[in-house]
């Protein structure tokens, strides 16, 4: 009888240990990687420097689209901008910028200074439309294909590794 109890106690102890061990090894940094494979929300975004709206559905006209959320006040955006400029030369890829909660004058100065990699530039001055794309901080970048499917989502500034990955996907 005592043996039975010991087996039960040991089993519970092992179970608790395994659960704790697995949760300790789990990456607790939140990302929205769950969105990969889903279709992007079809909404309208205001153009940055002209009246009218850009319909996300129009992305289906391009082979691949990179949707980049940025602002002039965001330090990491400045860091990743050179990579966007580099990617903008790729004929298979169109970059659409979403200027996030920014001052128009500052944003224009930013682009004048750092270069404009955006094929189409839109704005989300209140940040509410970006919720439709699962944005919770900037910079964030989403790679989308012709079928409006999310292929990759990069939270934080793009790195050289990310640029190579995008170039590899876009080449296919």
């Amino acid at each position: 009888m005592k043996k039975k109890y010991l087996v039960i106690i040991y089993s519970i102890a092992i179970f608790v240990f395994v659960v704790l061990y697995l949760s300790l090894n789990k990456n607790n940094v939140y990302t929205t990687q769950e969105n990969i494979g889903k279709k992007i929300s079809v909404i309208q975004l205001d153009y940055f420097d002209k009246p009218g709206e850009f319909n996300i559905q129009e992305i289906s006209n391009f082979n691949f689209t990179l949707l980049n959320f940025w602002a002039s006040w965001c330090g990491p955006c400045r860091k990743e901008h050179k990579y966007l400029v580099e990617l903008s030369s790729n004929s298979n890829l169109k970059i659409i910028g979403v200027n996030f909660k920014d001052d128009k004058k500052n944003a224009m100065e930013f682009l004048k200074e750092m270069g404009n990699p955006f094929f189409i530039l839109t704005k989300d001055p209140e940040g509410k439309k970006s919720v439709n794309f699962g944005i919770y901080g900037i910079p964030e970048t989403i790679l989308i294909n012709k079928d409006l499917k999310i292929l990759k989502k990069y939270v934080g500034p793009l790195s050289t590794k990310d640029v190579r990955e995008i170039q590899r996907i876009v080449k296919k």
Binding site: M1, I8, Y30, T32, E34, N35, K38, S41, K101, E126, G127, K128, S130, V131, N132, F133, G134, Y136, G137
Partner: protein, 121 residues
């Protein structure tokens, strides 16, 4: 008569706006601030929380139900944004484990007590 209808309309508006406010508050209490340390959207004043507060208020005013708002947000940010984890295939274990442990514990206790009383007899 005019005064009476005015009062009734005012009361109706107050009731609806109060209802919407408490519904919004209840929803915000069940949303996790993704950029804070364990805070709800309702408690946080981060930039992200302020945006979500505005979006939820708008959706409540548009007449969307709690379920629709939770679905919208979990579709965009994953179930992690909800404090109350929904019952799904990958959360069965989480939801049913307490009940399984409760039944298992009860069964063990029953067997032990039964054997002890038999011994005493």
């Amino acid at each position: 008569m005019r005064i009476l209808s005015f009062i009734i309309i005012q009361l109706f508006i107050i009731t609806i706006s109060y209802g919407n406010e408490s519904k919004t508050y209840e929803i915000l209490k069940n949303l996790r601030c993704l950029v804070c340390q364990g805070q709800t959207i309702s408690d946080s004043n981060s930039d992200f929380a302020l945006t979500i507060k505005e979006v939820v208020t708008e959706k409540v005013n548009e007449g969307l139900s709690r379920k629709e708002i939770y679905y919208f947000l979990s579709d965009k940010y994953g179930d992690w944004i909800l404090f109350n984890t929904p019952l799904k295939k990958n959360s069965y274990f989480l939801w049913f484990m307490p009940y399984i442990l409760f039944i298992l514990g009860g069964a063990i206790l029953y067997i032990v007590i039964k054997k002890r009383t038999e011994k005493i007899k």
